[in-house]
């Protein structure tokens, strides 16, 4: 399986009060053709920032290092005009808030047509026809009418469908979805996830799905990367991660969500809070909250192999040896 997107040692630093702080450190992952990688973590773990770095949409005053290779080309090195050719065309993105991600003063059709006219050089009339097809593709009823309506006339679920239609317009090879269903009700979430699953499968799209919901991950992803405080702490195939979670943080996450079936037990929370950017400390970043912390955790662990394509950044698995990558 050829990797469409390869991210290597991505490090992102933000300028806060005249000092740089690392929001993301040494993040590496690959996404193969037609594969869905879930990037999981709590707010502030750097998952959204990572996706913005891939799109080169981070604010100025941000230091980014490492490599983001899209089909072999390092996106961190290409010029802005070239990057504009890639955004929306080769890699497109869906955001969490369907309410604020659409421009309220433009018609739905105009907004979908925009990227078609921009990247595909089609005529306005043709773009409109294609927009209607796209709306039908994402399951919007009355597409011929909706195309001339404004975002406020649509419900949240419908807007997210429009967002997906926009992202799909140029048939990108990579789709980045940042919490695409977090703002939606469960029954609508089920519709949208179903839609995304079909579209990505039919178009062999590679997807980076950012979410905090382990349920969504289990349903949608082929592989999972768990992030904590700016680092990927565990990465592997979805079954591996759910069957044999290795990092104490992953284990903690799985234990602290209430179950929908089975016996009701007292939850086992992860004590403490996520460390802030400014006081990240040294060594393993999870150590202060970790029930299994040891002396050695004052030193930074590396990624160790714990199974087939399954790595874990934790001293508990150090004897397994550093992964070769």
């Amino acid at each position: 399986m050829a990797d469409v997107l390869e991210v290597r040692d991505l490090t992102i630093e933000f300028l806060i009060e005249e000092r740089y702080y690392r929001a993301v450190q040494g993040v590496s992952f690959d996404i193969g053709e037609g594969e869905t990688l879930g990037l999981v973590g709590e707010s502030g773990c750097g998952k959204s920032v990572t996706s913005l770095a891939v799109m080169r949409l981070l604010p100025t005053h941000t230091k980014v290092s490492g490599q983001v290779k899209f089909r072999g080309q390092d996106l961190l090195k290409v010029g802005e005009p070239q990057m504009r050719q890639i955004r929306g065309n080769e890699i497109s993105m869906i955001f969490q808030e369907p309410m604020t991600s659409l421009n309220p003063v433009h018609r739905i059709g105009t907004q979908i047509s925009e990227s078609l006219i921009l990247h595909r050089n089609v005529s306005a009339a043709k773009a409109r026809a294609q927009s209607i097809d796209l709306l039908k593709l994402v399951g919007i009823p009355r597409a011929e009418q909706i195309v001339d309506e404004y975002p406020h006339q649509l419900s949240g679920g419908m807007r997210q469908r429009v967002m997906i239609a926009m992202a799909m317009a140029c048939q990108p090879s990579v789709l980045i979805a940042d919490e695409p269903t977090t703002a939606l009700d469960v029954t609508i979430q089920a519709q949208i996830l179903d839609l995304m699953r079909h579209l990505t499968a039919e178009n062999h799209m590679s997807t980076l799905l950012i979410t905090h919901d382990l349920g969504v991950v289990a349903e949608m992803c082929d592989r999972v990367a768990v992030m904590y405080a700016g680092q990927i702490v565990e990465q592997g195939p979805v079954r591996e991660i759910f069957r044999h979670p290795s990092h104490p943080y992953t284990v903690g996450l799985m234990n602290c969500i209430p179950k929908i079936a089975g016996e009701r037990k007292r939850l086992v929370p992860i004590e403490g809070n996520v460390p802030s950017l400014q006081n990240m400390g040294v060594g393993c970043r999870f150590a202060p909250r970790c029930p299994k912390a040891m002396d050695v955790c004052h030193e930074e662990p590396e990624e160790y192999s714990v199974g087939t394509e399954h790595t874990c950044r934790c001293w508990l698995h150090a004897e397994a040896g550093v992964t070769s990558r």
Partner: protein, 303 residues
């Protein structure tokens, strides 16, 4: 700033200004030059007004024997009269210095009246809503629909021209914008859960309005009030210029400008200096107001 705030999330509808740390306030001179320059001008103005008798070289109302040329024209600036004299032979510098007292008194006191009426009307209107809001806001519309200066002129004409009547007229008429701004803030604030929580605890309406909501609208109100001072100073000058404000011989920049008009052709300083004083004072308050707005802007505060 915690890590979580870096993640892209919808902006909060009303981000309260964090209490800025001392360290941050000190370096704000570089970030907010307008605020400091405006504040400096305002400070100078206040010092001048307070110490007018000490600072003024002459009695502002004294008519000097040597205050006019032989042909009866005002004397140009010289060592004795640094800014020259006016057509009555009085020292312009001293009159400009004493005139600052009038401008500042009218500007500040009338703004305090504006502030009081505007804040109370805005709070009550926004908080209670429904018919209270409708009635009060139509009153505001009405007051804003009148040409302000004309209305003030009419009122002063009825009351008789004097410092206190001018001040009262401007104070009683100029609160419309203030009320609207406060009402707008209250409308969004009262839906906030911390206001709802206060209601759930059984707090009275008065307590919620004045102890909970008011402190949270004070930021924009201060900005508006500062800008308002400059506005009201201009209105006072306008009224005095038209002869229905501060009456001669008491010095006010407005009536000095009016008097200077007559001698402008051959003694331009009689118009320039009171005019300049007015411009600088109004500019000072406007710059301070704009600077405060930038300072209180949450986007700047979290930078």
């Amino acid at each position: 700033m915690s890590l979580s705030e870096l993640d892209i999330k919808p902006s909060q509808p009303f981000a309260p200004t964090p209490m800025v740390a001392k360290k941050q306030q000190l370096k704000s001179l570089r970030e907010f030059p307008m605020l400091y320059l405006g504040g400096f001008i305002v400070l100078v103005l206040i010092v001048v007004a307070i110490f007018a008798p000490v600072l003024a070289p002459h009695n502002p109302d004294a008519v000097f024997q040597n205050g006019l040329n032989a042909n009866g024209t005002p004397i140009a600036p010289n060592w004795e009269f640094p800014l020259g004299t006016d057509s009555n032979g009085r020292d312009i510098l001293s009159r400009v210095i004493f005139g600052s007292r009038v401008s500042l008194t009218v500007g500040v006191v009338s703004t305090l009246i504006n502030l009081f009426i505007g804040v109370v009307v805005g709070l009550v209107s926004g908080y209670f809503g429904k018919w209270v809001d409708t009635v009060l806001m139509r009153a505001v519309d009405t007051i804003l629909a009148f040409p302000f200066l004309l209305f003030a002129m009419a009122l002063v004409a009825v009351l008789g021209p004097s410092l206190w009547n001018v001040l009262f007229a401007i104070g009683i008429l100029g609160w419309g914008t203030m009320a609207r701004v406060v009402r707008g803030q209250v409308l969004s604030l009262k839906e906030f859960d911390y206001v709802q929580a206060e209601r759930a605890l059984g707090a009275s309406h008065g307590r919620i309005m004045f102890r909970i909501i008011l402190p949270n609208v004070i930021g924009p109100v201060i900005v508006l009030a500062t800008l308002n001072v400059g506005m009201n100073m201009l209105t006072e000058a306008g009224l005095s210029f038209l002869g229905i404000g501060i009456q001669p011989p008491q010095a006010s920049w407005g009536n000095m400008i009016q008097q200077g008009m007559n001698t402008y052709a051959f003694a331009p300083w009689t118009l320039w200096f009171p005019g300049l004083a007015l411009v600088i004072a109004v500019l000072g308050f406007n710059m301070m107001g704009d600077g405060l707005r930038d300072l209180l802007d949450p986007h700047n505060a979290t930078r």
